[in-house]
């Protein structure tokens, strides 16, 4: 277990003035971009990663966590005001938030979303802090055979859960692994698929692939769809009653079970790779509506609807880091981006992280808790400002984001070669999402690819090339059996859906 002095030192680092200022900056940036439809925290994180190179690892990762958490709060603003969620996670929030805003209570709706979001997020962070260290101790007992089997299981689950086709999920994973194999192979260190470009000797640059696939491809899509027309500003109506501009303690307290249920659902969904916060929000909303004494009021501006959706989608953020920190497996795009930030700073997330970088991990935990309080504070002060942000035209947002991506990737890869690669992956990302291939699986496979191949190589070395030795590891056998079972289960589910 991690020494108490390391835990305290980590929390001390988190509460340093510099770190708190960067968390604050991250939360403000996250809420800002979350409020702009079409940008969102994922794109903001992708753009911000290269700019965090010069920072201390804890400060950089805390900043990105701030962006992610702030983005979830900000995403509720356009969902409530325009029925246009800033992030997919906020789609369920719009179901009751928008009707409430139309009744002249936009601030009540956005404040309820803020309070529920912070409540769910804090619950999830507490679970993360208490559960991850013991899980990491268990994960340390896993050898290369178990790790390879675990990754095969993760791929099979992700391919089945994300998107609407198992085949497309497998193809996206295979493509991600192929792209990850560019560079030198992990055993012989011979060049592979570099086509004479020695810049590719160390593999494709992480920022180029991540930003191209996640940010530029989405910007290109949005620009193509809004080509020739600039989105107009929104017109808000508000009542004169001050009670309609705030959430009273009685109203908040009446939603306590709804928020607790949402937080539990979000935490469970977040800990399982690939399910994501959107599913958690809709599941929590559906549960709350089903258990309500007045289900007909849902969809007409019920505060419980907003509380259910927001507490669940925000609870995913904390528990998403459980598989990342304990096993080194990112369960979502935001976790994959955080893993890339770890790797950029020379750290490999996984169970060893608690031993080698315990202070940093607990610093991160401290920063996450602080980010929740800052989120609440900034949200209280900034909601009126974010309402104005919603009306900013996409033309300036997208052109600025593109320039920032160009500069960020150029700095991260030391030249325009990385920017050109970013554009290639932007086109690939655009085509993949246009044809219904899940980008999340591609990105996760790309991140895990080198480790996956290395685990297989080490497993073969341990077993002298005799794969039947795998049967001596009950954990690996169980994971491989689960992989096969989940593969056929998702296959049969897909057939049922088609019928």
């Amino acid at each position: 277990m991690v020494d108490l002095s390391i835990i305290l030192a980590g929390f001390g680092d988190a509460f340093s003035l510099t770190n708190l200022l960067f968390v604050l900056g991250g939360v403000v940036l996250g809420q800002f971009v979350g409020a702009v439809p079409g940008i969102g925290p994922i794109m903001a994180m992708a753009i911000a990663i290269p700019f965090t190179f010069a920072l201390d690892p804890l400060v950089a990762i805390s900043f990105l966590v701030g962006v992610n958490k702030g983005g979830l709060v900000g995403g509720a603003v356009p969902a409530v005001l325009m029925n246009t969620p800033g992030t997919p996670d906020a789609a369920a929030t719009a179901m009751d938030g928008y009707p409430l805003a139309k009744q002249g209570k936009p601030l009540k709706a956005t404040k309820m979303a803020l309070f529920a979001s912070v409540t769910g997020d804090t619950f999830s962070d507490i679970v993360l802090i208490t559960v991850s260290a013991p899980l990491a101790v268990l994960a340390l007992r896993m050898g290369p055979i178990e790790i390879a089997a675990l990754m095969i299981f993760a791929f099979s689950v992700l391919a089945g859960l994300i998107g609407n086709s198992l085949t497309k999920g497998i193809l996206a994973a295979a493509l991600g692994l192929l792209v990850a194999s560019i560079g030198t192979d992990p055993e012989h260190y011979t060049p592979r698929l570099i086509f004479g470009y020695w810049d590719l000797f160390d593999g494709l640059p992480l920022p180029s692939v991540a930003i191209g696939m996640l940010a530029i491809s989405e910007i290109i899509r949005r620009m193509s769809q809004s080509h020739g027309r600039v989105q107009s500003a929104i017109v808000l109506t508000e009542t004169d009653d001050p009670d309609d501009r705030r959430v009273s303690w009685a109203e908040y307290w009446s939603c306590r079970y709804t928020m607790l249920r949402g937080a539990v659902i979000g935490t469970i969904f977040g800990a399982l790779p690939g399910i994501g916060s959107t599913a958690a929000a809709f599941m929590s909303y559906a549960f709350t509506k089903a258990r309500s004494k007045d289900p007909s009021s849902f969809g007409k501006g019920n505060l419980h609807g907003i509380a259910a959706a927001e507490s669940a989608n925000s609870a995913v953020v904390g528990s998403n880091l459980i598989p990342l920190l304990t096993l080194g497996i990112p369960g979502s795009v935001s976790a994959a981006l955080i893993i890339s930030a770890f790797m950029i700073h020379g750290m490999q997330p996984g169970p060893l992280l608690f031993e080698t970088q315990g202070r940093l991990v607990y610093g991160l935990f401290g920063a996450m808790i602080m980010a929740n309080f800052i989120n609440l504070w900034v949200g209280q002060l900034g909601l009126r400002l974010w309402v104005k942000v919603v009306s900013a035209p996409e033309s300036i947002i997208f052109s600025s984001a593109i320039l920032l991506c160009f500069v960020g990737v150029s700095m991260a890869t030391n030249g325009l070669f990385g920017v050109a690669i970013m554009l290639i992956f932007a086109v690939l990302g655009y085509l993949m999402s246009s044809f219904g291939y899940p980008l999340v699986i591609f990105i996760i496979a790309f991140f895990l690819g080198p480790r996956f191949e290395k685990s297989i190589s080490q497993s073969l070395a341990l077993t002298n090339g005799d794969l039947t030795q795998v049967y001596k590891s009950p954990v690996a056998v169980a994971l491989l059996v689960l992989s096969v079972v989940s593969f056929f289960w998702f296959l049969s589910r897909g057939k049922e859906a088609q019928e």
């Binding site: 010069a54 192979d185 055993e187 592979r192 020739g228 996409e394 160009f406 150029s410 297989i456």
Partner: protein, 141 residues
Amino acid sequence: MSASADRISGTLFLLFGLVLYFHIIPTYVEVAEGGNLSPDTMPNIIAIVLAVGGAFLVLKPTDHRTENLRVFAVTAAYVFVLASGIYGMSWFGFEYVAPPLAFVIMWMIGERRPAWLVAGVVLMPAFIWFLVIHALGRALP
């Protein structure tokens, strides 16, 4: 495009997997003697998965629909502009290419209001220049 979208992408994956297996991997992956895992083992397995997956998608397409050809054409135009911007930056640098690039993008989106155009074409590149050169102390492309 209708359900044939899956057949198109499936065919592309099938062909890509075959070209990868029979031409690209033998040509561009160096052969190494000994060891447990040859450098071409993983790419070969992936190529087979891509080809088989593509074939499966051709035979069993989903009802996924994608954008119409006009949107793809507009996207191609944006990609051309961005590629030209990268090429231009390699010759003239960010300072000279960023403002016209931002202008073309904003104009293509449909922005015609002078105030927003000035903000996007002048203020934003100037802010990025200040951030990178003075605040971060790094070089622009």
